[in-house]
Amino acid sequence: MSKRLIDLQHITKSFDGQMVLDDLNLYIRENEFLTLLGPSGCGKTTTLRIIGGFETPDQGTVIFDGKDITKLAPNERQLNTVFQKYALFPHMSIAENIAFGLKIRKKSKAYIEDKIKYALKLVNLDGFEKRSIDSLSGGQQQRIAIARAIVNEPKVLLLDEPLGALDLKLRQDMQYELIRLKNELGITFVYVTHDQEEALTMSDTIVVMNQGYIQQVGTPQDIYNEPINAFVADFIGESNIINGTMMEDRLVKILDVKFPCVDEGFGTNTPVDVVIRPEDVVLVSPKQGMLEGDVTSLIFKGVHWEIEVLANGYEWLVQTTQMHPVGSHVGIYVDPFNIQIMKKPESNDEKAVESDA
Amino acid sequence: MRNLKRQLLAGPYLLWMTGFILLPVAVILYYAFTTTSGSFTFLNISSITFSVHLKALILSLKLALICTVICLVLSYPLAMILNGMKTKSQGFIVFVFILPMWMNFMLRILAWKMLLSNNGVINSLLGTLGLPKLDILNTPAAVVFCMVYDFLPFMILPIYNAMARIQTDTIEAARDLGAGTITIFFKIIVPLTMSGVVSGIIMVFVPALTSFAVSDLLGGGKVLLIGNVIEQAFMQEYNWNLGSGLSFVLMIFVIASMALMNSWEDEGRTGVW
C-alpha cells in the first residue's frame, strides 16, 4: 500500500461549547479515494475544513506529507477544495475563475492559457472560456469548480458534497466522471457526502462517521457486508436489524427461532444485533422456511420487488425478483453466511450509535 | 483570530457612534430631567400637559394620522396598479413615482406653497372657471395637503416592494384552491403586503408627527404643531430644558407608535382570520 499522505491525530473541535469532533484519528493514503460518510452534523464537513485549513482544531495535529500543517493558512496548503455550492466567483468569466490560482502563483500567460484549455477539456467543457458563470447549468458550474481546483495541481482534492445540488441522473453521470478524473490525475481525493450510494460507488475507502466519532473505516465491500454496528448497518442501505441472542458459536436465536451462522467468539447467551440484508432474505414455500409469515406489502422497484413479510412479530424487508402477492403465506430462509452478528453498543463511543440509529 | 482583526475595522465607527449617536441622546435626556441650575426635575416632561403644548401635540397627532390615512388610501391601489403592469417599462414608471421622494424637501414645500397662495395657480384656475377662491393657506388643511405631497412616495415604495415580492404562484395556488378575486385580495395580498404597509405608515407618520417646517411655512404661524413648540423653545425662548423635555415626550410617542405598528404587524401575521 502507498504511504500515508495526511495524518489526523487526536483532533478535537467544538463550536460554542458544542463538541463536533472528539479525539478523531484518521490517515489518508496517497492516491486514495477516501469518502467521509455520515448524516448531517456528524462532523464530516468539519473534518474536511480542518484538512483544508478553514478551521483550526482545538487540539490535535494535522500532518501533511510528513510536515505539521495544523497552523498553516489555507492559501499555503498544497491542496484544493471543491465547495458544496461551487463558490465560483460570480463577477469573473470562466477563464478568469480557472486562472485565479495560477495568477497568484505568477505563472506565465502561455502556461495559464494552456492549463485552462487542458482543464476545460478534462471536464468536457471545451470552448467555454469566455462564458459567464450565470449562463451555466448546475452540472456545468460543478465541472468548472473542479477545473478551477485541479489546474493548481494539488496533491489532494477535497470535495464537500459536490454533487448535492444536482439531480439524480446528473449525479450518477458525475460519479463516473469523478472516478475517471481521479484516475487520470493520479491524486488523492477526500470526498464528503451523506449519500451512501455515492460513497459505495466511488470510494477506495469509506469512513462512516456519526456525532463526531468514526464508526467504521473500510472498503465499500467491508462496510456493506460487515457493518460493525447497527448504525453503520442502518446507514449503509436498508437492512433488517433484529435483536438476537448468541446461543453459542455459530448459532444465534432471533424471534424465537434458532439460526445457524458463521460468527464465533461472542460467548454464550449474549444479546447481539443481527443484520440481514433484504436481498439475502430468501422466500420459499412455508414448509421449507425457518419461519413462516404473510406478505403485507408489495412494491415494484424495476429490477426487483420489495416485499414486507410479517413473521414472528417482525416486519421483514425482502428484495426479490419473484413476485409474491399481498396476503400470500411464505416461508423465510437465510443462508448462514448472510447473517451478520454485531455486538450491542456499550462503550461511550457507541452511545452515539444508539441514539441515532 | 483573523475574525477578531476584521471586527476591529468597526472600531472607528464604534467611537463615532458613541460620540455622536449615543452621547447626544444622553445629553438630551440630561437636559430633559434638569432645571437650568442643574437640579433634577420632572417639570420639563410634565409641561406637556400645559394647554398650549397639549393642544399642539393633539393637533400634531391628528394631522399626522389624517396624512397617513390619505397616503395609505392613495398608495395601496397605486402600488397594485404598478405591480400589475407587466410591461418592460414598469421599472421606469415605478421610478417616476418614487422620484419625488428624492427631491429637496424645501423645494417640495415651496412648490406647494406657490400653488396654494392667494394669487397662485389653483386660485386663478378656479377664478377662470368662475368658482370661489380656495382660501386654505395658513390652515391645517394646507399643512395636511403639503405633508401628503411630501410623504406620499414614502408610502408607495414599501407597499410596492412588498407587492412585487409576492410570487405569482402563491396567487395561482390560492386560485387553484378555489379562492376568488376578493378572497385572494384579503387573504393573500393584504397579509403579504402588511410588512410594507407597516413600514410605509411608520415612514409617513413619524416625519408628519415631528415636522415643524411645513406648518411653519404653510400655517403662517397659525398652525402650531409640537415640532413648532419645540423649535421655538430652542431657537426663540432659548429654554433648552423645556425643549429637551418636550423632545423626550416626542421621542416616546415616536417609539410607541413604531412599537404599536410592529406588534400590529406581528399579530396580523400570526392571526388566523
Binding site: 484544493n80 | 447626544p24 391601489p77 422620484l99 433648552w240
Partner: protein
C-alpha cells in the same frame, strides 16, 4: 377595458399631483414676470440673478461641500464598519445595528437638537458641526447598503480564493470588494441625496452665518417667495433627477438586475 382605463386615469391623477407643482415651478423659473399666473415671455433673468447672488452661491457651495465630504467620509467609515460588523457574532451585530438604527428611526428634529446640545458644550456651531451631523446620519445608510452585499457574497467564495492560494488581503480585493462595490456606491449616492435633502438636522447644527440651500430656502420663504427660488428649485430638481437616474439605471444598477 374599463378597468384598464380607470387604472390609467388613477395613475395619471397621482402623477399630476406629484409633478404639477414642480412643473409649474420650472415653467415659472423662465417666466419674465413676477406673477405666478401670467406668462410674461421667456427669460433666463432669474438664473442670472441667482448666479450673481453671493448669498445663494455661497449656500450652494456649502451644500456641495457638505454633501460630498459627508458622503465620502460616511462611506469610508460605514464600509469599514460593515466589514467589522459582518465579522461579529450575533449579539455584537445586534448591538451595533441597534445603535445604527437610532438616527434612522428618530425624528430628525430630535436628532438635530440632541447633536446641537452636545456640540455647544464643546465647540461653536459652524461648518464642522454640520459636517459631523451629516456624516452621522449618513453612515447608517452606507452600512445598510453594504452589509447585505457582504452577506450575499457568501463566505465560501472568499474561502475558495484562500483555497486557491490567495492571501486574505488579495482575496478581499479580488473577491469581496467587487461584490460589495455596488453596495458601497449606492450607499455613497444615497448619502449624497440624504445630505442634499436634509433640512432639520442642518437647521439646528449650523449656527449663524452658515446656510445650505435647504436652510436658505427656508429663511427666504418666510420672507416671501422670490423668482430666483424657482430657478434654484429647477436646478436642484435636475441634480436629483440625474443622481437618481444614475443610481437606478447606471452601471451598478444594471448588474443588479441581472442577478
Amino acid at each position: 377595458m374599463v378597468r384598464k382605463s380607470a387604472e390609467r386615469i388613477y395613475l395619471f391623477l397621482i402623477f399630476l399631483f406629484l409633478y404639477l407643482p414642480i412643473g409649474v415651478l420650472i415653467v415659472l423659473s423662465f417666466n419674465n414676470s413676477k406673477s405666478k399666473v401670467h406668462w410674461g415671455g421667456f427669460t433666463l433673468n432669474w438664473y442670472k440673478r441667482l448666479f450673481s447672488s453671493s448669498s445663494i452661491m455661497e449656500a450652494f457651495y456649502t451644500t456641495i461641500w457638505i454633501t460630498l465630504a459627508s458622503a465620502l467620509i460616511a462611506t469610508l467609515l460605514g464600509t469599514f464598519a460593515a466589514l467589522g460588523i459582518d465579522a461579529m457574532k450575533k449579539r455584537g451585530q445586534a448591538i451595533m445595528l441597534g445603535a445604527t438604527n437610532i438616527p434612522l428611526l428618530n425624528a430628525d428634529i430630535v436628532t438635530g437638537i440632541s447633536m446641537m446640545l452636545l456640540f455647544v458644550r464643546f465647540t461653536r456651531l459652524g461648518m464642522n458641526t454640520v459636517l459631523i451631523a451629516h456624516i452621522t446620519f449618513n453612515i447608517p445608510y452606507v452600512i445598510l447598503n453594504v452589509l447585505p452585499k457582504l452577506k450575499q457574497s457568501s463566505r465560501t467564495t472568499y474561502e475558495a480564493a484562500l483555497d486557491l492560494g490567495a492571501t486574505p488581503l488579495y482575496a478581499f480585493y479580488k473577491i469581496i470588494w467587487p461584490q460589495i462595490l455596488p453596495g458601497v456606491l449606492s450607499g455613497f449616492l444615497m448619502s449624497m441625496t440624504m445630505s442634499l435633502d436634509d433640512f432639520s438636522v442642518t437647521y439646528f447644527t449650523k449656527g449663524a452665518g452658515i446656510n445650505t440651500l435647504s436652510t436658505m430656502i427656508y429663511t427666504e420663504m418666510r420672507k416671501g417667495i422670490r423668482p430666483e427660488m424657482y430657478a434654484l428649485s429647477t436646478i436642484l430638481f435636475l441634480i436629483a433627477l440625474l443622481l437618481l437616474l444614475f443610481l437606478n439605471f447606471g452601471p451598478s444598477a444594471r448588474k443588479e438586475l441581472h442577478h
